[in-house]
Symmetry: D2
Subunit: 114 residues, 4 copies
């Protein structure tokens, strides 16, 4: 069942992990610092923050943003999961996956009191 | 035809006008300061910034965000247009409408080089 | 002693509480919805997010932002504490106070590894 | 003389140019994609947006944020100016320098009506 407090927490966590993972990836260089990879982490960090903020405001548009956010998180999780020999990427993949699932549930939930 | 530079400009303008309109509405009070009205202006300001940033990064996900952004802008334009005896609200409605149209075109455009 | 992980958590908490308190204040109306009060909550929410993000990136400029952020949090705590007959404002005041203290410690700390 | 509308425009421009320069730098790789360089562009993009938003809200705290923002812009201008054989970096350096000057003037200005 969708839980808005949990979804806010998952979005803030995902925002945080994506941002710190960007600095990790830049320091590693190579594939980790590829434009499309860093950009996806930036996209994910920003849409997670946006999604959290819509929920925190009690916006009636939160499910629309959560649907998009969930999709971006899944893409980011897929990308990070390809670098499974790096603990930081595994953590990022898991955090994105959890947020993607949480946002997907919010997006599909019956209208809840905000 | 969709023009990404124009759409970025429209999103930044809409972000700016929505933010300054919030302070205007709070100062006026009454219907202008109703929760759902201020919240919609906050939502619109934030999604416009998010949308501009996705385009500025050259993200391949920009059309997905522009589609959502365009929808929020149209809702905000409709709300602001109801207060047509207030010049600040007319300006806000027009700015949101222009951004909504611009984002709608971006969202529906053939894939452009980023 | 300054703890960067704790300070990030405090900034994210303060961002979240300020944002949801804005909607609470708009719904209550009256003094709660005064322009200067809502604006200070907006300022506090945004500088807390900015401060958290600088720390999450491992930026060498984090202490500069924490100093400013701590100051804004203290101002916001003072304002919210004036409405002590409202549980939501008490919670907001306490959260801002904690973040203000945490940011003040970070700002004054010896240079830590980021 | 400080001009708040000009300063808002300069901050939004600087935010935009820094964000698109990040993608340019990642694509180039090498020194352009060094962690400290990308991070400074991220820091500059974010503080410029924050600064613009404080001014757009009419916040009485805008000069405090402009002072910090001006400092970050100057640092970023210095860094980008080191890569003077790349037109994108020259543009970024000039944009940061202009914003740094504009924010410095705002920060030092007599209190203006907001």
């Amino acid at each position: 069942m969708a839980n808005i407090e949990q979804c806010i927490t998952d979005c803030l966590d995902c925002h945080s992990v994506c941002l710190s993972t960007i600095s990790h990836c830049l320091a590693k260089g190579g594939d980790h610092a590829a434009t499309h990879h860093i950009r996806l982490l930036q996209d994910c960090a920003q849409i997670c923050m946006t999604s959290a903020d819509f929920m925190l405001r009690g916006s009636p548009l939160d499910q629309m943003i959560c649907r998009i956010c969930g999709g971006v998180c899944e893409l980011c999780a897929d990308e990070c999961a390809k670098m499974a020999d790096d603990d930081a990427m595994v953590l990022c993949a898991e955090t994105c996956r959890r947020c993607g699932k949480s946002c997907g549930e919010m997006a599909g939930a019956d209208r809840k009191a905000a």
